[in-house]
Structure formats: C-alpha cells, structure tokens
C-alpha cells in the first residue's frame, strides 16, 4: 500500500461508528470476536467484516496462535494520523493568533 492508500484505509476504517466502538473496546485489552460482538446487535459475520477492515488499516492485529484468535489494538496508525491532524489544528491556531495580535494592536493604538 502507498502512504496515500494507507491513509485512505485508516480514514475509511474510522468513518464507521461500529468500528470506532470496537477500537474503544480494544483499548481496554485484547478480546475474542465473541467478546467484541457482545454489545452489538449484529451477527458474527458482520462483526468479522468490520474487524477485517480494521485489520487491513493496521489498526488491529489478530493473534494466529490461540484458537479464538484474540484481537489487539495497534495504535501506531492512529498516532500517525493524529500528528497530521495536529498540524492542521496548529495552522488554524496560528492564523487566528495572528489575527488576535492585529486586533489587539489596533485597539490599543486607537484608545
């Protein structure tokens, strides 16, 4: 996957509320598909489909060892995106801070 495709996969995976809830669950610790499915009114195949999307985006890993193949969160891609979005926020904070400075200067001159 190119980095753009990878970013696509991450954003696509995070766009769905069920998948975000699954990630939030896995933050608590690893879990089997059955455990993950429990709070959702969904069939196991539907949950498995969501897990595959998360796995493709490298947001989770699934153990090959144990038979119930527990899922674990893999936070690295999230951090990558978070850094990127922090930059965006920074750009706008900088813009508005500059505007703030001009507004203050202008008003102190006027008074």
């Amino acid at each position: 996957m190119t980095s753009t495709e990878h970013l696509d996969a991450i954003f696509g995976a995070l766009a769905d509320p069920t998948r975000r809830a699954i990630l939030a669950r896995l933050v608590q610790g690893e879990a089997s598909v059955n455990e993950i499915a429990e709070p959702f009114a969904m069939t196991l195949p539907a949950i498995t489909k969501h897990l595959k999307v998360l796995e493709k985006a490298s947001l989770i890993t699934r153990s090959r060892e144990a038979q119930y193949r527990p899922c674990r969160i893999h936070a690295e891609p999230l951090k990558e995106i978070d850094e990127y979005l922090q930059q965006y926020r920074k750009i706008w904070e900088d813009n508005f801070d500059r505007l703030d400075t001009y507004l203050q200067e202008l008003q102190s001159k006027g008074s």
């Binding site: 753009t4 970013l7 696509d8 954003f11 995070l14 766009a15 975000r20 990630l23 939030a24 933050v27 608590q28 969160i73 936070a75 999230l78 951090k79 995106i81 978070d82 990127y84 979005l85 930059q87 965006y88 926020r89 750009i91 706008w92 904070e93 900088d94 813009n95 508005f96 801070d97 500059r98 505007l99 703030d100 001009y102 507004l103 203050q104 202008l106 008003q107």
Partner: protein, 159 residues
C-alpha cells in the same frame, strides 16, 4: 489581563467541520479583517505566505487567495460570495484550484456575533462528500484535515 480564546474544532457530521474562535474586539473590526483583502493577507497564512489576496466583496463577486508554501508548493484557492449580511454573515464557495480537486465546490458559512465586547466567529465548512473532504486531508490543505480529530480524540484519550 487579556485572555486569549481557544480554537474549537468539532465535526457536526461526516461532511462538515465547524471552527469556533472568539476575539476581544468589536464585531465591526473583526469583520474588516475577514472582508478587506489587504487585512486578510496580514493574518491568513495557512502553511505559507499569501502572495495573492483579492476579493470583489459583493454577492456574485469572486475572491482569490494564493499561498506560497515554499517547498510544499503554490496553493491557489478561489470562490464566489453567495450571501453577505454586513458584520453578521458571509457565505462563500471555496475551491482548491488544483486538478482534480477543483472539480468540487466546498461551501463556507461564517457567522459573527458579539457579546460584551467579545466577538465570536463560527465557520462551518460543508463538503459535497466524505471523499472530497478526505482528498483535502491528503493534499494537506486548508480545511480538510480537522475531520476525524474529535473521533480520534475518543480513541486516543484512552490509548
């Protein structure tokens, strides 16, 4: 002591971004800094220097801003004013003028309110689809990148 206000970024839906920022200044003054191209140029840098700042500030009039981000290239943006309510509201279209993204039109709604000498600016950015928004994120441009921020916050706060 002068308090600096924080920028709030939220996601009302999959195709929208809302930015809210307050300023310790009267509305008429803040308005000038959003509408006079020479004043816009002073503060709106995004990730570069603003080399062009033009606006025919009337309904149906067009605007154009070009940013030079050095190694990150030239970023031309343009659009049209759809609605102007003096000192209260500006609705305009926004096009990031690089193919193929320039096929898509984004709409920005900026509302200005004043209370006790503090002016609050709310900017709602509406994308035609999630794909367009993501396209902007990946171009590293302007308004696109705020998208999943708060969603990520839910998850990341626990990591």
């Amino acid at each position: 002591m002068i308090t600096k206000h924080k920028l709030e970024i939220t996601l009302p839906s999959d195709t929208e971004i809302l930015m809210i920022r307050s300023f310790n200044a009267p509305k008429a003054l803040v308005w000038e800094f959003f509408t006079d191209p020479e004043k816009v140029r002073l503060w709106l840098g995004c990730n570069g220097t603003m080399t062009v700042s033009e606006a025919d500030f009337r309904v149906g009039g067009t605007w154009r801003n070009v940013f030079d981000a050095g190694e990150a290239g030239i970023h031309p943006t343009r659009g049209e004013f759809l609605e102007i309510v003096p000192t209260d509201r500006i609705v305009r279209t926004f096009i990031y003028d690089v193919p193929p993204i320039n096929e898509h039109t984004i709409t920005e709604y900026a509302d200005f309110t004043e209370s006790n000498g503090v002016t609050t600016v709310k900017i709602l950015v509406k994308y035609p689809s999630r794909e367009v928004r993501d396209g902007h994120v990946q171009s590293g441009v302007e308004f696109g990148a705020g998208m999943s921020y708060d969603r990520l916050d839910e998850v990341l706060s626990a990591v």
